[in-house]
Symmetry: C2
Subunit: 644 residues, 2 copies
């Protein structure tokens, strides 16, 4: 059977296979946060021709069903079929931010003033051919030549042993030896190759996020980024956040979680190999940055101890294991550098991020915030770094928010609400029909609603001012976008606002608890690095207004984009930077917030807009007093409580 | 279906399975040099009850067929069946010689005056439990404790990484760490175990012969040999000698050759584990001695270069790879020590053998001869050792000899021929009906025939003296044992004698060529160590008589038994002996006989009884002149040539 796309691509279909699965196998990724499990109702496709059976229409409304829309993961073709992938279902390869920053990465690398020293070294060996008088065995012959290079001790893996002689003979004793330099004149042999094949050198830098997986294909000769690709982390089908995945792993799902993320990376890598006509064997190193749970799952190591008191992970520093052990589709002998983790909820993504910001090189104190699926914070300078994880949850990535979505086309990314009419003015990524709200949009909406008095300081919606505040299925909601047939309305509900309040409170409380631990006040922070996929879209003043970010001068804030990926790229290229990163990791002091009474107090105080202690947000206080003079009453009190 | 033996053992039978295969699966090995391929007609069984189909009766005669004898590998039961395994088909576990020497091995080990230092070390670690204040990850926690032991650098394999945390937690942070000490304060972690399970320590010492595989199970605490087992090397089904196996490997059979020998070892080990109630994980090291081809096939490394000019093997020194890489059924993390090889046809079995003889420790010059499937020679002392391989062929192990067999019950092991009547007096191993002739029997018979004038100096049979010299299928033959119905007569044919002449000539020519190379004469040899499965049975004076062994005083000859296995045992127990063995290997100079003109000349001269130059065998000459006075004519000339 065949599946034909409007782009004229033709894909093979197996009997009993659903469209989502067939597309995925062909390397075509569509939006499906649940991973094709029939839970998110987002993998919509339009059937143009052909017979098919539908297992469930999920949350598709009657209008959608009538226009032949269907969920790819629930649709089973019964013969040849022609489909269209609507724009809203198309997964944009690469975050806008990641692509934007790509060009700057080589400049950033250059600014470290280190040379390119990948994980592996390669040397040309021209061995004398064996003869009856020079009768060393092949391995001894290699060792003799290697000793001449100044390497005294070299180990040879079993895989090296079984393939060595064939290559030596086929290439007539002139070979490229790829090895890992272990220092102290010792090394680990990886593989031999013919000088004229498998002689280019590429590496991959990978950011394994809880929600997305991003891969750079890098030329290891000059540091050039040849391609990048991204996809949802298909572990999502086993749960949105790290906790549910750890539970799944401990209940026998470890292997499928590992397979999920490995196949995500392999799907991206394989399509890159094809696009650029590169052999898998030419990719001879990998740099993997992820949070602690993602790092464990990548290697197939049971992460259960992460969520068991006292929350100590099995590994923080990962040995330089081989790509082949986890079936990564690059050279199986390629060493894989895993960015060091600090604690159960501060992982290699944060350490990589700190390297990317150079926080550890400056005397002035900086704050690093990564607001992704979780929320990690680090404060420090060239002498010390403290760090903590504040479980902010994945709502800024769209999860747990009724109309939440990632920052892909169709997402409302910024909003202005008219203070008189309460009508919203929205900006949508890709300038198409709005499909939902991304993280930056949520912050915009909340601060606008707060400023215009549509919500009170506790985050409760005020009804009666506009019919855009209406009763929805989950209680009160604000209507952001009214679709033609009302079935695709985009709203923000009171439940959503509560989730967002919790997230912003956790982040701010984490920050203040950390400062408290080290006995410093907020104004010592001279720079705030905002990292994470959605960081770049944040409207900083509005985030300060909500009390999510500290009330510091705006020129101290710097967008950093996906710093985890940046750090992965930097460490792929340089031994010095890998050492620098390890120094960062060894310098970091982890503070466990979950057992801190101080944190709980701070959290409760932060469950208010912007904060119960308004003196901590002086610019917000002055802005509010400026605009609220005539409306003071409803801005600072809940009218329902003040009807007396 | 069930297969019942007269011993009342009951074995499960699968449909379409032959009896040989079912027996093998159940760990019951019967004589089958061809490995169950229907070629050798030796796996005879007697069917007592049940329906069965026979694919071929092979060389079974009509009488045997009528008594319900059948070949196990060609017999397919059609339902429950009862069989008897005749004594001649029973494979004796362990050569007589190997068992005999077992008791002496601990004494031999003690004589080296070294302590027991297996390949692995084991240490009890009592780790502080992790807490929020002592929050090192599991691996860092281990590293800290290991550092306290004085080990600065330790590497952790992937397999260690994925299993570590479970063991640590289950055994409440008190664990046994097994590791390999790499010297220079560095080590390789192997595995963790609970202090109360998997806490005994065993190892296996293995001799992989071209024809047989022998395994010792050793207690690593006190050196005690707990059990030994042996079987045919089932690679035999792909060819009798190393050359045919190398060819098979190069033609795509590498994997099946490796699987064959691994499963042979595993079959023995598994039955040992059961017998002694030992867990596979408790066997944490292995020592493997074999010729160069066997060593390569064990590891699954293509041995093709061994038989390609200039005959250089891929490896002589094998890294300490893990048992799991080749699916050995012991602890998968166990390091496997492969005895170092010298050249394509002088392997680890010879180096192990030299260690066992202590040749390398004495000032006096000794000769070491291993006459097994091949024929390897070493001459030397504590300063130098030269070595060579003379392709003697496997005839002394029964191959290529019409009634040849291994030294198991039923084999004629010694013979005396009456010089008047030419009637033979035979000794049979196990005192049962003779089934064939083993190596020592062949030497006996030939020398007796020579002495009594039944063969001439060229090895030609003389007819007309006795009707025991008769015309057989393959020309003239001497009847050693007349069976009741003539169907199981044991004979030695002229073709057999020719093969034996070639073998003895190759051995003696190898020895003289080697002496010639180093410019010494035969009488410098103060000791001759005879190794190899069949060595112990040799009647030395008779072997000298044939010109196979040098004409030296008898008290210089020492039987050594299976020195390869002895060396494997010694190196399993001691790091010092492993180093000593490596010194032996590095001291050995290999002489390639196949390109030596001198060797060819010596070989041609040695194709005579005892030698064309009788002055090299003074005691034989004097013996001959003594007994032949009246018979001089026919002893030194071929009567057929002298009828003039």
């Amino acid at each position: 059977m065949e599946l034909r796309l409007t782009s004229d691509e033709v894909i093979k279909l197996h009997k009993g296979e659903n469209i989502y699965s067939a597309l995925k196998k062909a390397g075509i990724f569509i939006v499906a946060p649940c991973g094709g499990k029939g839970l998110c109702s987002k993998c919509k496709i339009k059937i143009l021709k052909g017979e098919y059976k539908v297992r469930s229409y999920g949350k598709l409304n009657i209008h959608e069903r009538e226009s032949n829309l269907s969920l790819a993961c629930q649709t089973y073709p019964q013969g040849d079929i022609v489909i269209e992938i609507p724009k809203e279902s198309q997964l944009v390869i690469g975050d806008k931010i990641a692509i934007a920053k790509t060009k700057d990465l080589i400049e950033l690398f250059k600014s470290f003033k280190v040379s390119i020293t990948p994980l592996t070294k390669r040397v040309l060996l021209d061995l004398p051919k064996p003869s009856i008088t020079d009768n060393l065995s092949d391995l001894e012959r290699l060792k003799r030549a290697i000793k001449d290079l100044g390497i005294k001790n070299i180990t040879f893996s079993y895989d090296f042993g079984i393939s060595m002689s064939k290559t030596l003979r086929e290439s007539e004793w002139i070979v490229l030896l790829t090895y890992v330099d272990r220092g102290n004149s010792s090394a680990e042999a990886l593989f031999l190759s013919h000088p004229e094949s498998c002689n280019r050198r590429f590496g991959i830098a990978v950011d394994i996020g809880t929600t997305t997986v991003v891969v750079y294909l890098v030329n290891l000769i000059n540091g050039e980024i040849i391609d990048l690709g991204s996809t949802y982390n298909s572990q999502i089908r086993f749960g949105d956040d790290v906790i549910t995945r750890i539970i799944h792993a401990s209940e026998g799902g470890l292997e499928e979680l590992q397979e999920a993320v490995i196949s995500d990376i392999n799907n991206i890598v394989n399509s890159m190999l094809q696009r650029h006509n590169i052999e898998a064997c030419e990719i001879d190193s990998a740099s993997i940055a992820g949070n602690t749970t993602m790092s464990h799952l990548f290697w197939g190591i049971d992460p259960s101890p992460i969520r068991e008191d006292p929350y100590i992970p099995p590994l923080n520093y990962f040995p330089l294991w081989r790509a082949g052990t986890v079936k990564l589709s690059i050279n199986p002998q390629a060493p894989v550098y895993t960015h060091p983790c600090i604690a159960s909820y501060v992982g290699g993504d944060i350490v990589a991020g700190l390297l990317a910001t150079k926080l550890h090189k400056n005397h002035e104190i900086s704050l690093f915030m990564d607001i992704g699926t979780n929320g990690e914070i680090a404060i420090g300078n060239n002498e010390w770094i403290v760090t903590a994880a504040c479980s902010a949850g994945p709502c800024f990535e769209g999860s747990g928010i009724k109309c939440g979505m990632r920052a892909t086309p169709g997402a409302i990314e910024s909003v202005k609400i008219d203070p008189i009419t309460f009508e919203p003015f929205i900006n949508v990524i890709g300038n198409i029909t709005p499909q939902g709200i991304c993280g930056s949009g949520m912050i915009d909406i909340m601060s606008e609603m707060f400023l215009t008095g549509l919500i009170d300081q506790k985050g409760k919606l005020i009804s009666g001012k506009t019919n855009r505040v209406r009763k929805g299925e989950e209680g009160l909601e604000y209507l952001l976008y009214r679709s033609e047939d009302h079935h695709k309305d985009v709203v923000l509900t009171e439940v959503d606002i509560e989730n967002l309040m919790r997230a912003k409170a956790a982040i701010y409380a984490g920050l203040t608890t950390l400062l408290n631990e080290i006995g410093l006040s907020i104004d010592v922070i001279k720079r705030v690095y905002i990292a994470g996929g959605f960081g770049a879209y944040i409207n900083i003043p509005k985030a300060i207004m909500l009390g999510m970010l500290p009330d510091l001068p705006l020129d101290r804030f710097v967008y950093m984009g996906n710093t985890s990926l940046t750090g992965a790229y930097l460490c792929l290229l340089s031994e010095e930077l890998r050492k620098e990163e390890e120094e960062i990791a060894s310098k970091m002091t982890y503070i466990e917030l979950s057992v801190s009474r101080k944190f709980m107090d701070e959290y409760v105080s932060a469950m208010f807009l912007p904060h119960t202690d308004i003196s901590r947000f002086p610019t917000v206080a002055s802005l509010l007093s400026e605009i609220m003079t005539p409306k003071k009453f409803w801005l600072f009190t809940n009218p329902e409580q003040d009807t007396s």
